[in-house]
């Protein structure tokens, strides 16, 4: 199991090499999700911003309304005061009355810096509350240091109408503005009611502290900064600012108010821009990014896994394919094997360890019959045999192969000798599963072999008998020859004088005949020896053999003035030296004998030439020649040519030559033409033979 897993992992890792994990898709997914996260985060931020913006707008609107209401209320009250002042007939411009009004107003309408009465000449005569506005008492508005204030007053003087001043630094030092209300009675200017407002007081008495803490509030009057609740801090200029602007209108005055949340303005910068200061936003971003990373990683893992499975599937498919091919090859091989086994004429048999025949080919059925499978070997045995003993080492696993000859019954009941070649059959654990054997019916072959052996033995016996016979005959023939010769000699020696010339002639005839007989006997002995005796074969130079033969026949050669040609360095022969000498002697002897008595230029030539694989040696003469009809006959024993009658010879020379050549595995033949000469060729078997 463990091994399977390891193999599986190995398999996958091998497959994965061929399928690198695609990292692009997860990367794209990661980037997309991250982008979406950031966009969402941005939108979330924007949304937050929008809320703030709207809130700011609403607040700005509230501030505007409050300021306008406040100012309208205060100015209306002053207007009422002016009307009330002049409603009495005659109008009462007494200080007491002023004081009464001012005190009441100041108390009921907070927000005033001061409520003053200005005389016709432009001097501030009465001031309320005095302790706060002491600085302005008895000051002349016509000589006010602020030009704008002086101009305004002049306008009120001229127009006898309500005039409001731009924001200026008041006598009291703070920033503010004044309203002038000319008091006209009976067409005559009586003086001015002067309402002075401190901007800070106006704003802070009407706008709640909470709002001012939350927002930055800035007021401009014709681009002049007239109020800001957080002095020293500029407004953000960023495009992302959530600032709200409003115009504040009241009786001849227009202000511009700018409102901005304190938080944003206070922490302007990249951190604010990214919203990082807000843990909620940061959490959203981190969560989004983590989610993207997680998803991408998940996707990556998923794809990896998919690829792994794909690789495994590919591998499996590949294996299935391979197996299919292997099965196909196996089927083909099986078919081939079946056909092959069917064509084999020998029996092919499988046996199990119990020697039961489990399978065989067609030849097996044909021999033993259709019911051979399941039978034990000894069912077919004929006679005593050691088949099982010979088979045992194979089944014991001691031997791989065995050769057994066994007589077994054929399906027709006939006992046949089978030659069994058996081989052990083992499974992959080395357990002996039985054996595969081929068997061949060698009955006929054995019979033939035996017959041949018997024939060979008979032949050899006959041959030996013959040779022994020839030898004995030669020997026995020699005995009387020795006797005859001996007594001829004795006769000559002891009674030579009594014989006379005629007697001596007869004795010579007897002696000649005896010698001829001796020659015959010697040749016969030679011939019989060729088969019986042999010596060690050696390398022999044909050149030296030829020379030796010529030296032996020196006398007749010289007498006949025969030219002898012996080339130097002729090839050598691997043969029995004595026999080869005999052979060459015989050939040269014949050449000399049959050179022709009236041959003008007798010549004998030795030679050797390569013909194909073999070397052909020859002895050539220009003698009397041989008729083609005798080419075969001359090699037979006791055969002599008609033309050779007059020439000495036993008729055995060429027979001896032929036997020697044949004993050396060679051939001898002649080419000749009557009157032109003969060439005797011979070959000697190779050294390896």
């Amino acid at each position: 199991m463990y091994r399977d897993n390891v193999a599986f992992l190995l398999l996958i890792s091998r497959s994965m090499k061929n399928h690198p994990v695609n990292i692009i898709l997860p990367l794209v997914i990661f980037l997309t999700l991250s982008s979406i996260t950031i966009i969402l985060w941005q939108r979330y931020l924007d949304h937050d911003e929008e809320i703030i913006r709207r809130h700011t707008q609403a607040m700005a609107e509230q501030v505007r309304v409050r300021l306008e209401d406040f100012m309208e209320e205060r100015l209306s009250s002053l207007e009422v005061l002016v009307e009330r002042w002049v409603e009495r007939r005659p109008p009462d411009f007494s200080y007491t009355r002023y004081r009464q009004f001012a005190e009441t107003y100041f108390k009921h309408y907070p927000g005033f810096q001061a409520i003053n009465w200005v005389d016709r000449e432009g001097f501030i005569r009465w001031v309320y509350p005095e302790e706060q506005n002491y600085a302005s008492k008895d000051k002349s508005l016509r000589n006010h240091p602020e030009v704008a204030l002086r101009d305004s007053f002049a306008r009120a003087e001229t127009s006898r109408e309500y005039v409001v001043t731009p924001c200026v630094t008041l006598f009291q030092g703070s920033l503010g503005f004044a309203t002038y209300w000319p008091l006209v009675y009976n067409g005559k200017l009586q003086g001015y009611l002067n309402g002075v407002f401190n901007i800070r007081s106006v704003v802070e008495s009407r706008i709640g502290k909470t709002l001012l803490d939350e927002f930055r509030l800035i007021l401009y009057e014709e681009n002049r900064l007239i109020y800001q609740n957080t002095p020293g801090k500029a407004l953000t200029t960023s495009s992302r600012s959530v600032r709200a602007s409003r115009e504040v209108h009241f009786r001849g005055k227009t202000w511009r108010l700018e409102l901005e949340p304190q938080e944003i303005t206070a922490k302007a910068g990249s951190a604010a821009y990214l919203g990082l200061e807000n843990p909620r936003h940061l959490f959203f971003l981190i969560f989004g990014l983590t989610l993207s990373t997680g998803l991408s990683f998940l996707l990556y893992s998923f794809m990896r896994r998919m690829q792994m499975y794909q690789a495994v599937r590919d591998q499996a498919l590949h294996e299935v394919n391979e197996r299919r091919q292997a099965e196909k090859a196996l089927r083909e091989a099986e078919e081939k094997r079946k056909t092959l086994l069917a064509t084999i004429p020998d029996i092919v048999m499988q046996i199990d360890p119990d020697r039961i025949r489990t399978w065989c080919n067609n030849a097996g059925y044909a021999f033993f019959g259709e019911d051979v499978i399941g039978k034990k070997g000894d069912y077919y045995f004929v006679g005593e045999q050691d088949t099982y003993q010979k088979l045992q080492p194979l089944l014991d696993g001691r031997e791989y192969a065995a050769y057994i000859e066994s007589w077994q019954r054929r399906r027709d009941g006939q006992p046949r000798l089978l030659a069994w070649w058996c081989r052990r059959l083992s499974n992959d654990r080395g357990q002996v599963m039985g054996a595969i054997c081929t068997a061949r019916d060698i009955t006929d072959q054995r019979k033939l072999e035996q017959e041949r052996e018997a024939l060979l033995k008979e032949l050899s016996d006959k041959n030996a008998e013959l040779e022994s016979f020839v030898y004995t005959v030669s020997h026995d023939l020699k005995t009387p020859v020795v006797t005859i010769e001996g007594f001829i000699g004795a006769l000559k020696e002891d009674f030579g004088k009594l014989l006379g010339p005629e007697g001596e002639k007869y004795l010579r005839r007897i002696s000649e005949a005896t010698q001829k007989m001796e020659g015959l006997i010697n040749d016969l002995l030679d011939l019989s020896r060729i088969g019986r005796l042999s010596e060690q074969k050696t390398e022999i130079s044909f050149t030296s053999l030829a020379k030796e033969a010529v030296i032996a026949l020196d006398a007749p050669i010289k007498e006949r003035r025969i030219t002898v040609v012996i080339p130097e360095n002729m090839p050598s022969l691997y043969a029995e030296k004595k026999r080869l000498g005999q052979l060459v002697d015989n050939l040269v002897g014949n050449a000399v004998k049959y050179i022709g008595e009236d041959n003008p230029s007798p010549r004998i030539e030795f030679g050797a030439e390569k013909r194909g694989d073999e070397t052909v040696f020859f002895v050539r003469d220009n003698g009397i020649g041989i008729d083609k009809m005798y080419f075969d006959k001359i090699f037979k024993i006791f055969q002599r040519l008609p033309s050779a009658r007059k020439i000495d010879g036993t008729g055995m020379g060429l027979t001896i030559v032929k036997r020697i050549v044949e004993l050396h595995g060679g051939r001898v033949w002649v080419e000749s033409e009557v009157g032109k000469g003969s060439t005797f060729y011979f070959t000697i078997g190779n050294k390896e033979d």
């Binding site: 005995t479 020859v481 010769e485």
Partner: protein, 148 residues
């Protein structure tokens, strides 16, 4: 002890050959006693002083045996074997004298300790020459063994 020249035993079935051989020995000038027996049986009787040859004084151990191979009955090689198996007789030189040139025969003779092997030549002159040389060598040059 009276010196008695050693005799020659010739074992030869062919009467004519025996005659020729004796003639040649005589002609060579050897006058010693030459006894001829025609077969192996008789040769052994003679040498072992059996039968009609039982009188050792009459048939003393010869100084040389000329032995043919081809003999009727017990053949030459068998005779040679018996001679060389005997402690006393083995001292006697045995010269094989035969028409056989078979190497088997030559081998067998020397294998049984024959002292020499001669073939009978066909020519009269050669025959006489050979016998003369044989006599000269074995009876004159060669120092024969001392026999009882």
């Amino acid at each position: 002890m009276i010196y008695e020249p050693s005799s020659i035993l010739l074992v030869e079935d062919e009467e004519a050959h025996a005659e020729l051989t004796v003639r040649a020995i005589r002609k060579a000038g050897n006058a010693n006693r030459i006894d001829t027996v025609p077969d192996g049986e008789k040769a052994l009787d003679y040498l072992f002083n059996r039968g009609k040859y039982s009188d050792k004084n009459q048939y003393p151990t010869p100084g040389l045996v000329l032995l043919d191979i081809k003999l009727p009955g017990v053949d030459g090689i068998e005779v040679l074997k018996k001679i060389k198996e005997d402690d006393e007789l083995r001292k006697v030189p045995v010269v094989m004298l035969t028409t056989s040139e078979r190497s088997d025969d030559i081998e067998a003779c020397y294998g049984h300790y024959a002292n020499s092997y001669l073939t009978k030549p066909v020519g009269f002159m050669e025959f006489e020459d050979k016998i003369r040389s044989l006599d000269f060598y074995w009876m004159i040059i060669n120092r024969p063994p001392l026999l009882d």
